[in-house]
Subunit: 186 residues, 4 copies
């Protein structure tokens, strides 16, 4: 049954988000209401299960819409849109992202699911594309690092409010602060 496989993936995701790769196959099996051994029949071993689950969710949640904003002509709008969008996505998937960064930091993940790298690389590409399309000379690497820094600080530092819980006013004020640091520089 495709059904059962999908159900395992969903349940496993929840468990992995909560506990990372350390989560036990038993916990996953319980959450999925499936015999432990079924996981092994379907995914070979825990690592494969983990990778499958994470890849599947990364595709669904992160790859989509990645480069849409690059087309915007105004750089301020481009930045605003990219920061807002990424902070939204990240804060909505906060626990997943935290877990993935943690596992990455501990070197437990294969390169194919290196989230920080993915974020950084896709930012660099987006910025490059924007620069090219608008004939701008931008230090895309530095911008990407700065943006990533912003995103990471939202994920890792203590927060009063998550980004997606801010009012529109607060959100705009915050975005303005972030954006100005990029624009005046140039």
């Amino acid at each position: 049954m495709r059904d059962k496989t999908e159900q395992i993936i969903q349940s496993a995701l929840q468990v992995f988000i909560r506990k990372g790769f350390q989560a036990t196959t038993q916990e996953v099996a319980n959450e999925a209401k499936v015999a432990e051994v079924t996981l092994f029949r379907k995914f070979g071993n825990k690592q494969q299960l983990f990778i499958t689950v994470i890849k599947s969710v990364l595709e669904k949640k992160f790859y989509a819409h990645l480069m849409e904003q690059a087309k915007t002509h105004d750089t301020e709008d481009f930045l605003r849109s990219i920061i807002d969008n990424r902070l939204n996505v990240l804060s909505k998937n906060r626990n997943l992202v935290k877990m993935l960064i943690a596992e990455n930091l501990m070197g437990n993940l294969p390169p194919e699911i290196n989230l920080p790298d993915m974020i950084f690389t896709s930012l660099t590409h987006g910025i490059d594309q924007h620069a090219q399309q608008n004939n701008l000379d931008i230090d895309s690497t530095h911008w990407a690092r700065q943006l990533s820094g912003i995103f990471l600080s939202h994920l890792i530092l203590p927060n009063e409010k998550l980004y997606n819980e801010l009012s529109e006013g607060e959100r705009n004020r915050l975005l303005n602060k972030y954006i100005s640091a990029f624009l005046i520089n140039e």
Copy 2:
């Protein structure tokens, strides 16, 4: 013997840096060339050992010099000095810090060794102090987040070179970029 205790702490530190809290007491014992049981006699349990080891290293490596720079009168110098100093310390203790951030992200650490919080808080205090002493109106929280973001990006993103491996020229160019984002804003 203080000697053997110290030796355990040093060895445990190396093991914990490599493997995080997951490291086994056996690994620690092997590295320290000590019977496993000795760890328990001396530290009670694995968690206590971990906390003791981490606290000790945090005190030695991070608390020192924390507020020195606040006294600087020129804000640019203040920022330069604080960024340079923190990036240096962090990149020299890269693996330790990565591990601590990872464990923190997974919620495995007690508040007493919450490194991201410590970094953020001490930055905020330092900036506040600088602002007060020089009669400046600074959004210290925002600055602290921006600075933390810079530090985190250096720790987490893929790097060509570590900060402490940069030439003086590269280092200065980098610092200038970072600093300008703060100054022009105000």
Copy 3:
């Protein structure tokens, strides 16, 4: 397989009878010719295993026939039958009972397998029932204590012969002595 579970229970019983709750899970596993871990899969932990095993044997060996004798009309016959029956059962399960009393004395048992209490309570009930059915005024608590005392003395004091090894003549003489203490009193 119900088979293996039953086999574990039987082996565990033998080991627990010999060593009490102190018996190690390893000993049980060896006796049952099963991997140690199997015990935990099946019973959760040592305590649960112990309780399960003991409950099962108590049900099989002690609860049966408990109140049969109460129906007897003649009080002497009632006493004779109850003493004979209980001494038989107890002396046949001597080591089990001794172990349970020992663990109970040390406060190591949950109330559900408190053997002394069970014996005393069921005696009291049986006597009450006999008294009621035959319209007698009996101090059932005192009788139950006296009977329990007899049983305990057989279990705990040094014995030349176990009750179940006595000849019929010896057994009758003994029973007569015990019974007369109850009857003449009233």
Copy 4:
């Protein structure tokens, strides 16, 4: 220091009463405020310590006055005095006695501190002596068993009140019941 040895014995007694022979040397050392190793220097090993401690307390609490009552001429008084005295001593040393019986039941004690045997034997001797002095024909073994049964039932069965907490009236009523069972028999 005799002092420290005595202090260890006293503390060890408390711990052993609470936990039996299972009590750890660490617990004993803590209670005695002495280094664990001191126990071994003084007593060789845990078993020796245990035996020493128990022998010492048995001498102090049980051997004294054992045969005093045998001299009484009236058998009823003799029984009353012996039952009252033993129940008093036993209920005052309830936990110690329970522990000793428990360890005895589990076969953990050397014959020299077999408490049930000691009680039974001394009762038999006392009764024999009383019979001899008063020219009576008593089945001393049976009496001793009956008496022991009474004592054991007080130690092991659930109790509303300990013997030493009974009012004088209650105590007398109880003693009368017990005694009559012996006298009318003959």
